[in-house]
Amino acid sequence: MNTKKYKQPEELLLLPRLLDCQIMDKDGMRCGKVDDIAIEGKPGQKLIATNIIVGVGNWHKRKRDIFSRLFVWFIPHTTPRQLPLAKIKRVDPLIELICSKEEIYISSLEKKITSVLSHIPGGK
């Protein structure tokens, strides 16, 4: 097969740009990285990217090398969150959402740390 003449559609070229990209909510709060991308479709059919996946719980699926496995073993196994592409306002080059961080997910650990820090003078 002559691969030189093959050109990838622009949508597919965009996907590697999205992976590992910083996500920012509508208030300018950073709220995770694109840890994976969910694509629907079957071989021979049109593939459609539906969601971006946020959450370290997904790393062991995406990368199977020894470093990732070891590291994932040490971190809490949070359930990855799926964010519909419709929630993305723009990719420029951070991914900006149309919703706030609270609407997506805040872990109980983050809430606890926030509460402790808020009680220290100057923390809030």
Partner: protein, 411 residues
């Protein structure tokens, strides 16, 4: 164009140039090899200016700090390896800097060393909690200017300017026997590495985001890095000259941080001693702040947590917790009794091994039109960038063998 901003940026860069690793490596380099290790300072200064300018430009235009780039460009596994290595080095360096503060506090107060370690850790925690980014950077940068006294000291020791000038020519002294040659090469790498340590770039690029830089700030970025760092390197030259004139004739290899203050005391007496101690205090204090923040920036940027000292701590919970933990670990390391100077030597040599993974993503993104548009590197920057990547890779590959062959520069 805001001239005040540019002026303040330059002063901050000059005052913030020196940290404990420069104080140790440059003074020892002068003491052992006289002026023949001045040229690596120039190489290091141009390198840090070049890559800090690129990192600042990326922060201003693409809004991406260094560890964002590392994860995006190096990929997940290599990015994570770099993260772990960087955190290890940053914590070690932070411990060395806090140890430096503790040593100066002990000299100024005569309190027990372990007590001054605790005070130093608490001061850094308090300062980081209370001050916003701009003030953190400028307070320590300006007060670090006390170290300018080192330039006056170096002049007053009347160095032979011809010999000093010859020291700026890249050289490997022909009279050195193999063990001394390894030691010399180890110091070449140590001097370069002490200037271009990765935490500098992490802190600088994150600072650009903290201060909400835009393309309008590119001139400030360029002048602060090139003028500020290159003037800052004069302090490193002064340290080498002081080491060469005071310690080299006596055959002494200074192993203590207070040795640096000796030259100032000889020339200017008590006032000189106080000035240089204050300069060291604020220089290593600023570096302690930079390293603890650099570690927290790295982790937060890798995981995508909200970060920044422009926010209240409760708005950036994981980021805040990270810098607190880094300072606590650093203090615990010092409580184990390890000499901060020894920690510095290990941190500097290990940092050069991780350096290529820090600088390559900066080079790639600063050439990427998708991110940078018309602000991609020019031809000269690109050529120098490639030359420096080659230098960094050579240093990274040879650092550990030279460290072991020279027994940490003591042969």
């Amino acid at each position: 164009m805001n001239f005040l901003d540019i002026f303040l940026g330059v002063l901050t860069a000059v005052g913030g140039f020196i940290d404990i690793s420069n104080l140790v490596f440059n003074t020892q380099a002068g003491a052992i090899f006289h002026y023949s290790l001045l040229w690596p300072i120039v190489i290091g200064a141009i390198g840090i200016a070049l890559y800090s300018e690129m990192a600042g430009r990326i922060a201003a235009v693409a809004k991406k700090p260094d560890f964002d780039l590392i994860r995006e460009r190096m990929g997940f596994p290599l990015g994570m390896t770099t993260l772990i290595a960087s955190l290890f080095i940053t914590i070690m360096t932070c411990a060395a800097e806090i140890g430096g503060i503790a040593i100066v506090l002990r000299l100024l107060s005569a309190l027990p060393y372990f007590f001054t370690i605790l005070i130093a850790g608490l001061i850094i925690l308090l300062v980081l909690w209370l001050l916003k980014f701009k003030w953190l950077e400028r307070v320590f940068g300006f007060l670090g200017l006390f170290l300018l006294v080192l330039i006056l000291v170096a002049f007053n020791l009347h160095p032979n300017l011809k010999l000093v000038g010859e020291g700026f020519i890249p050289q490997i002294p022909s009279h050195l026997s193999p063990p001394h040659l390894f030691s010399y090469l180890y110091f070449v790498i140590g001097v370069i590495s002490s200037i271009i340590m990765p935490y500098n770039v992490f802190f600088y690029s994150s600072g650009g985001i903290e201060e909400h830089w835009t393309a309008k700030d590119l001139l400030t970025n360029r002048v602060s890095t090139y003028v500020g760092y290159i003037f800052g390197s004069v302090l490193a030259v002064a340290l080498t000259i002081i080491g060469a004139i005071i310690f080299h004739p006596l055959g002494i290899q200074p192993q203590l941080l207070n040795s640096v203050a000796l030259g100032s005391t000889i020339v200017f007496g008590k006032i000189g001693l106080i000035m240089v101690l204050l300069g060291i205090l604020f220089a290593v204090g600023g570096a302690a702040v930079e390293t603890s923040l650099a570690g927290a920036y790295s982790l937060s940027q890798f995981f995508g947590w909200h970060w920044g000292r422009y926010e209240k701590p409760s708005k950036t919970p994981f980021f805040t917790l990270t810098w607190i933990i880094i300072i606590v670990i650093a203090v615990l390391i010092l409580f184990s009794g390890i000499n901060p100077v020894s920690i510095t030597q290990y941190a500097v040599i290990f940092s050069i091994v991780a350096l290529p993974f820090t600088y390559i993503p900066i080079y790639l993104v600063s050439n990427d039109k998708f991110y940078m548009g018309k602000y991609v590197n020019g031809r000269i920057t690109n050529t120098l960038g490639i030359v420096y990547l080659i230098i960094i890779v050579i240093c990274a590959v040879t650092a550990l063998p030279l460290f072991f062959l020279s027994q940490g520069g003591s042969t």
